[in-house]
């Protein structure tokens, strides 16, 4: 019997078994299953062996479809193979799953179950993905806890070998995959005892081998297919018995007993709930509580969902049962009921048991499912007519499916300590809490659990840590709402949220404060003070940032707050706690060097001397309170819906509050003032040369410039800064550069790019960072005033000049991207140039998250109400999605033109002719057409015919549209490459923008085919050994695709020019944009410097391939950057993704650097040759401007009038 204990999360629990029982592991990253693949890869690199003494092969594929294909092949060739996935990833595996099951091949797929994208994407947990695979022939085995994810993983691997039915082992995404809990580890010996060697040998004997050849994958005809399909029945019939046998063997090996259906509760229960997954923990807690309070209820935990063992279910269900509630964590619109419910109903019917059965849905997308909700379901079962097809945990005020529940009900044990911590992602709170829970959980007789809730934004993100520990195993797989301890590691949170709402009377509160202890009370909001007094809370304070600063920790306050937590909670004697914290620090950060350890140790040693308990006054004195999440001036929907989500009250919104089809208004990010910058840029109007570079690079569009008439300054705030415009044509006007203080993330890219330096003090630039707090109020007023100034007339500006582009209104602002993001400046530029006619198809990834994650979103509109229309379909299909938009737009334009011609009389021949013959090649032409279409619509509105109504519906399409297909390198180079390639080959007028960060940024830095040679990434821990794919040259091979490689930091004018040429080109365009990224491992304030270095080194040649030049007889290939002037080393060794290889394996790093330098030279030679080739000569007799018969032909680089 094993007793070795660990504290890990569900992903590691499952992966630990899967790795040891596999030989080939084919994977692809997808949240929340990615850590399983990453761990497997790490263990492979570390040389860990599987149970057969070999190191498994872990291979990252280009998609989950690819991973499933590789899995299928590995199985066919006789290996023991596995994969890890979730959600859309599992859906992509389904075709292969049918094959693997149809061929009766032992295999296990481990799934961190996650919502399938429908009206919206969600990365959180429910069973909609596994339910979509229940028909494939795979067995489905459900785990409900971290321990079960470990144990049932082993049972799945053992069972599949004996049953020959492949297994899908799943556990709830995030709730189990990311929950940290105690775990009894399965030893290698345990696993050996579980695996039937004979079954392994049989699997190998069935393998495809030329020395004993067989053939699989035949095509069969109507005569035999049906019979052959039925031939597998015996295996499915035998499977449940085999699984139970394996479970019994597991029990005798480990002492932990599982059954196909596990019953818990009163033996004579009258009411029984049937659930699977992480819901079983709180359900069991609730059942125990109810039975202890005189009720007779029970819980049936479903382990093996497929093949569904009817008899086992009947055997497990007490004979006394009179009513059953079946809960599904999925929704199947239009079905009679959800899958588990249907199976139970049919089983009972077939078994002849006449019970009352109701079904309900709960917990979609990790929605809370807690004892209060479970009690409500049991209460409902007691009523004479319990509601069927109910929902629980939400308020459905539309179709009234939801059950009421009492949120105050709790089954929390009094001997369980419950602590909630509010931190900033960057302050290290989560990391410290992970260590804390490991320290506590390793104490004898202590059990511990940790779960972390993250923000929807990447910059300045809030984290909430939920820690439980006590003398009993912790099954409470739901958030803490009754806490004995509250830690708030960021004082500014107190004005944004009610952090004490979870505190129970008498709880301890720990605050990180920027004040002396005696001053703190006066800075606390009214509601906070009230609760402290009413709940008799003890409040401890520390100026952790001062301690961090003094111990060299910068803004990392994690270990300081951790030490205080241990001291206040008294879990361990102080000396023991400090020793344990230091040991944990050593384990976590030991590989980062002694200086890091020393600083952390100093911080720990200093912490307690600066911790004070506050004297609590007996009355509330605050004159201010928690701020509203959005201002009262926000639109109603923003106030009532999005604002509630911002405030953390989204769970309370009723069904009616939310759009049923996933359609949301744009322009909502501006209402959520996140106020996260410690320092913001301040403009020195005397020094500024008005070059516009700061505006161009600002990732969050918080620096804006306007030129305006001085008469508008009448009501300007006193501190509003003005300057004389440095445009010859605008000398009589005024210029202002303004920062939004509460939207700025403080990334300082603007300061770094600023070229204007003081002649008397070189460090002083035309824009400089300064503390935000004293500037917040005056600059807010200035910002509001700035917004009230009308936008400058676009027609008077040269859209190809960076200096002028700063005056074009951005229609993407204040996104949740990382501070200093390298992607968003490109998208912002896109919206500045073409925003009012822009359709965006956005691949899933960073850009879809900062572009479309609730509560508030960044795409917005101009004063006319026009702006980008944006949508995300999937990760893999984005190019096709965008092509569809183009086809639809063109088709509607054609139809509209047909109708306009038909309507020439009623609307006036002149208007019709003007509309049909409009030249929209220039922006001014587009604007004029928009005016004509408005007039057309006005006239049509007055007509009462079907044709008029039809034309009205499509009239908007008469204005030229610009379709942009946007995504990252994971999409373009890997999972979506097939579609991208095909769309480029169609010749359609679409523009593809690849934001190339050279890794899967959104899922945490996994290698893509854009990852450069020598860079370390997940799945390339030893440095990528192969060269980055030259996507540009692949696209150029078509000859009629416009292609550009741009890097804003290496050539901003070049970037602007490429965007304009791409849009102007009447055919497919591909822009590959170098995007620095947090995953590259350096301070992103230097992002643009690195872009420049990439260009100077020749690693990222700036180029354009414009097929339109062919028609002028010119060479379409233009190499726009100079030959390499610095060695590659000077560029790459500024980034940790390269330097960590030089540290860990200097020889390999040196070799890869040599090869990468050769790659640069080779690529440069190829490009140089292409650029120096002569054109075809005189062309075909037509000049470029002659071919723009379609309205899309804005000649690149040519100003559109105005300032030149």
């Amino acid at each position: 019997m094993t007793k070795a204990m660990a504290i890990v999360d569900g992903n590691e629990a499952a992966a630990s078994v899967a790795y040891r029982l596999s030989e080939v592991i084919a994977i692809y990253p997808i949240t929340p299953s990615s850590p399983m693949g990453e761990l497997a890869d790490q263990w492979m690199v570390e040389g860990r062996k599987n149970n057969w003494g070999a190191v498994p092969q872990v291979v990252e594929m280009q998609s989950e479809g690819g991973a499933a294909g590789a899995l299928h092949g590995a199985l066919q060739a006789g290996s023991l193979a596995t994969t890890f996935t979730a959600s859309q990833g599992l859906l992509l595996m389904i075709p292969n799953m049918y094959k693997i099951a149809g061929e009766l091949t032992p295999a296990v797929i481990h799934v961190a179950a996650r919502s399938v994208a429908t009206h919206a994407l969600s990365i959180f947990g429910d069973h909609s993905d596994v339910m979509a695979a229940r028909q494939t022939g795979f067995a489905l085995l459900a785990s409900g806890s971290v321990q079960e994810a470990h144990d049932l993983a082993a049972i799945a691997h053992a069972s599949t070998l004996e049953a020959r039915v492949p297994f899908l082992h799943f556990f709830d995404g995030f709730r189990t995959s990311h929950e940290v809990n105690n775990l009894f580890l399965l030893s290698d010996e345990d696993l050996r005892a579980m695996i039937d060697g004979q079954a392994v040998r049989h699997h190998r004997e069935r393998a495809l081998r030329p020395d004993r050849p067989v053939l699989r994958g035949t095509a069969q005809n109507p005569d035999v297919f049906f019979q052959a399909r039925e031939a597998c029945n015996a295996f499915y019939l035998a499977c449940p018995t085999i699984v139970q046998g394996v479970m019994d063997r597991f029990a005798s090996q480990t002492g932990r007993s599982y059954h196909l259906f596990d019953y818990a509760g009163a033996p004579d229960a009258e009411r029984v709930m049937i659930v699977m997954g992480s819901a079983v923990g709180p359900a069991e807690e609730t059942v125990e509580w109810l039975n202890a309070h005189g009720e007779k209820v029970g819980l049936l935990k479903v382990r093996l969902f497929r093949p569904f063992a009817v008899q086992a279910l009947m055997n497990a269900l007490p004979r006394t049962t009179r009513a059953v509630a079946v809960l599904d964590r999925t929704k199947e619109p239009g079905s009679v009921g959800e899958p588990l419910y249907l199976d139970v109903v049919v089983s009972l019917a077939e078994a002849g048991r006449n019970l009352r059965v109701i079904g309900g849905r709960y917990g979609l997308s990790s929605k809370e499912f807690n004892p209060a909700m479970i009690k409500a379901v049991f209460d409902e079962l007691r009523s004479s007519a319990p509601r069927n097809h109910f929902t629980i945990g939400i308020h459905d005020d539309v179709t009234h499916t939801s059950l009421e529940y009492d949120p105050a009900f709790s089954t929390e044990r009094p001997d369980t300590v419950r602590a909630v911590f509010y931190g900033l992602g960057s302050d290290g709170t989560v990391g410290a809490n992970k260590n804390s829970i490991k320290i506590i959980g390793k104490q004898a007789g202590k059990y511990a659990q940790a779960y972390f809730v993250y923000d929807s934004k990447k910059a300045g993100s809030l984290t909430v840590s939920h820690l439980r520990f006590g003398p009993q195993p912790i099954r409470s797989s739901y958030l803490i709402d009754k806490a004995n301890f509250i830690g708030c590691h960021q004082f500014p949170f107190l004005e944004r949220m009610d952090v004490l709402s979870r505190a129970v009377p008498g709880a301890s509160v720990l605050l990180n404060v920027p004040f002396a202890p005696a001053e703190v009370w006066n800075h606390l909001p009214r509601k906070f003070q009230q609760q402290v007094i009413e709940k008799r809370l003890r409040v401890f304070v520390i100026d952790a940032y001062a301690v961090a600063r003094d111990s060299g920790m910068g803004r990392r306050i994690n270990t300081i707050m951790q030490t205080c937590f241990f001291a206040i909670s008294g879990i361990l004697p102080p000396a023991d706690a400090i020793a344990a914290i230091k040991k944990a620090i050593e384990q976590t950060y030991g590989n980062r060097g002694e200086a890091v350890l020393k600083r952390n140790f100093d911080a720990v040693d200093q912490a307690l001397a600066h911790l004070f308990e506050m004297q609590i006054p007996d009355r509330v004195t605050a004159a201010f309170d928690i701020l509203p999440p959005v201002p009262p001036s926000a639109p109603e929907f923003v106030r009532n819906v999005l604002g509630e989500i911002v405030a953390g009250r989204g769970d309370d919104l009723p069904v009616s509050a939310l759009p049923p089809d996933g359609t949301f208004p744009t322009g909502t990010a501006k209402w959520e003032k996140r106020n996260i910058a410690q320092e913001i840029p301040v403009w020195d109007e005397q020094l500024c040369i008005q070059c516009g570079k700061c505006v161009l690079v600002c990732p969050h569009a918080v620096i804006r410039a306007k030129v305006y008439d001085s008469s508008l300054l009448a009501n300007a705030p006193l501190s509003f800064k003005i300057a004389k415009p440095r445009w010859r044509e605008f000398q009589d006007l005024r210029y202002t550069l303004q920062v939004s203080p509460e939207d700025c993330t403080g990334c300082a890219l603007c300061v770094e790019i600023c070229p204007a330096k003081s002649k008397s003090e070189a460090k002083h630039k035309a824009i400089n960072m300064a503390p935000q707090a004293p500037l917040r109020e005056p600059e807010n007023k200035n910002w509001d005033f700035f917004l009230s100034i009308p936008e400058f007339d676009r027609s008077r500006l040269s859209h190809s000049q960076v200096k002028d582009v700063q005056l074009l209104e951005p229609l993407m602002e204040f996104s949740g991207a990382c501070a200093g993001c390298g992607e968003t400046p490109y998208i912002k530029l896109l919206t500045q140039l073409f925003g009012d006619r822009l359709l965006v198809a956005n691949a899933t990834g960073c850009s879809s998250i900062y572009g479309g994650n609730l509560p508030t979103t960044p795409y917005t509109t101009n004063a006319s109400g026009c702006g980008p229309a944006w949508s995300n379909s999937l990760f893999e299909d984005n190019a096709e999605f965008g092509l569809g938009m183009r086809l639809a737009t063109d088709q509607q334009t054609a139809y509209a033109r047909h109708l306009v011609a038909k309507f020439a009389d009623p609307i006036g021949g002149e208007l019709a002719r003007a509309i049909l013959e409009a030249d929209q090649s220039q922006e001014s032409g587009v604007a004029a057409q928009r005016e004509r279409v408005m007039e057309l619509k006005r006239q049509l509105a007055a007509m009462d015919t079907n044709d008029a109504r039809d034309l009205l519906a499509v009239a908007g399409s008469l204005v030229r549209k610009s379709v942009w297909i946007v995504g990252g390198d994971g999409w373009a180079y890997d999972i979506g490459f097939g579609g991208l390639d095909h769309v480029l080959a169609t010749g359609a007028n679409v523009n593809l923008l690849v934001l190339d960060t050279e890794v899967y940024s959104n899922t945490g830095g996994q290698m893509s085919k854009a990852t450069p040679r020598g860079a370390v990434a997940k799945f390339a821990m030893g440095g990528k050994r192969t060269v980055k794919k030259d996507l540009a040259m692949e696209a150029i091979s078509y000859g009629d695709v416009y292609v550009a490689c741009v890097a804003m930091g290496g050539g901003d004018t070049h970037t602007v020019k490429a965007f304009r040429e791409a849009e102007a080109y009447n055919g497919p365009s591909l822009i590959i944009a170098y995007s620095h990224c947090i995953a590259h491992g350096y301070d992103m304030v230097f992002g643009m410097n690195q872009q420049k270095a990439a260009v100077l080194s020749g690693y990222w040649p700036l180029m354009r391939y414009n097929p339109a030049l062919n028609l002028e007889g010119k060479n379409p290939f233009q190499l726009d950057s100079k030959p390499p002037s610095i060695p590659l080393k000077d560029y790459v060794y500024q980034e940790a993704r390269y330097t960590i290889l030089a540290r860990t394996n200097p020889e390999a790093a040196a070799q890869l650097l040599r090869e990468a330098q050769e790659d640069v030279q080779r690529r440069w030679r190829v490009y140089e040759n292409r650029a120096s080739m002569p054109g075809s000569g005189a062309g075909n007799g037509r000049r470029l401007e002659d071919i723009s018969q379609k309205p899309e032909g804005v000649a690149a680089g040519e100003p559109e009038g105005g300032a030149k």
Partner: protein, 334 residues
């Protein structure tokens, strides 16, 4: 046969030509080539404790950036078992160098903390270094710190490092002391086995186009040699430690001057970087030729022959800059 041998600290060298610390000596292949071309000893590049500390902190920042902030990306870079943040790489270089060459290998150390100096010096000795050169390189910007305090710290460090080592310890100095002879005497008392004159270090240069100050190292040229000759000539015979000159040694004649001033060894970097690792061959050939032409039998014979104590006009080493060197007859006055 001309005898080129010299005794540098406890190290018996076949000639006075030593490769000083530079990127060249970072590669074992280069060390081999240097040995083949006649170099008598090599000094490895300095291990900078401050750099180790800085790299540790920066690595931590790079690995922590963005971690635990977003549900989909708990980390952005893989967690490797070790990042070699300690001196292991350097110690490995010593080990490999000792395996590769027979000439003495001198490790070089620039510490920051007292504990760091002592610990790393010991580890270098254990890794096989034949001697250690303490690179006493610090740039003091604190207006409250006196020169005496700086000198006290240097001497204390030398004393502490010496106490824990068997191998000899050289001390590499900068030229910026108010009383060089006094400092040399104090370091002598602290136990230094050699004094290396002088350090050349990165100094900020101004980019007046971009208004930036950037550290820059320019290669030495022979005009830097006189400063070294000057002080070695003065120190020769008045302190116990061996004397080494580094900086400005580019030709065989320069080596001769170093020896005549009183140095045990002449160290080269810039000339090697400019002329390649085969250059010592030529210097040594020229040295032998010069000595033959001038009928010197050994290096020992010329050592200190032009030192302060040995020249007929020691005033040349004492006077300040007179207005006109050509008319300064006083220089000739004893």
């Amino acid at each position: 046969m001309i005898d080129l041998t010299t005794q540098y600290m406890k190290l018996a060298l076949k000639n006075p030509l030593v490769a000083s610390a530079s990127p060249l000596t970072e590669s074992v292949d280069n060390l081999r080539r240097l040995e083949d071309s006649g170099i008598a000893a090599v000094v490895l590049p300095s291990l900078f404790e401050e750099q180790l500390m800085l790299e540790s902190v920066l690595l931590d920042q790079d690995l922590s950036r963005g971690a635990d902030e977003f549900a989909e990306a708990i980390t952005y870079l893989p967690n490797l078992e070790s990042y070699n943040t300690g001196p292991e790489g350097y110690l490995g270089l010593i080990h490999r160098a000792k395996q590769a060459v027979a000439i003495p290998v001198i490790a070089s150390l620039n510490g920051t903390t007292p504990g760091g100096w002592i610990r790393y010096a010991r580890e270098m000795e254990q890794a096989g270094a034949d001697a250690i050169e303490l690179n006493l390189y610090s740039i003091e910007t604190d207006p409250h710190k006196s020169s005496e305090a700086v000198e006290d710290r240097y001497c204390e460090l030398v004393h502490q490092v010496k106490a824990g080592l068997q191998i000899p310890v050289a001390v590499k100095l900068s030229p910026f002391f108010s009383s060089m002879v006094h400092v040399a005497r104090r370091l002598d008392n602290a136990g230094a086995d050699a004094l290396v004159l002088f350090n050349r270090f990165y100094q900020a240069d101004f980019d007046i186009e971009n208004l930036e100050a950037a550290p820059r190292l320019v290669l030495s040229d022979p005009c830097e040699l006189p400063l070294r000759l000057h002080w070695v000539a003065i120190l020769y015979g008045s302190v116990r430690p061996s004397l080494a000159i580094t900086g400005g040694v580019h030709r065989a004649e320069d080596v001769v001057k170093c020896m005549m001033a009183g140095a045990q060894v002449a160290m080269m970097t810039s000339a090697l970087l400019q002329n390649g690792v085969r250059y010592p061959h030529r210097i040594l050939d020229d040295l032998v030729r010069w000595m033959t032409e001038h009928e010197y039998e050994s290096i020992q014979q010329m050592r200190g022959s032009m030192s302060y104590r040995a020249v007929p006009n020691p005033g040349a080493f004492e006077r300040n800059n007179y207005m006109k060197m050509l008319s300064s007859y006083a220089l000739r006055v004893r």
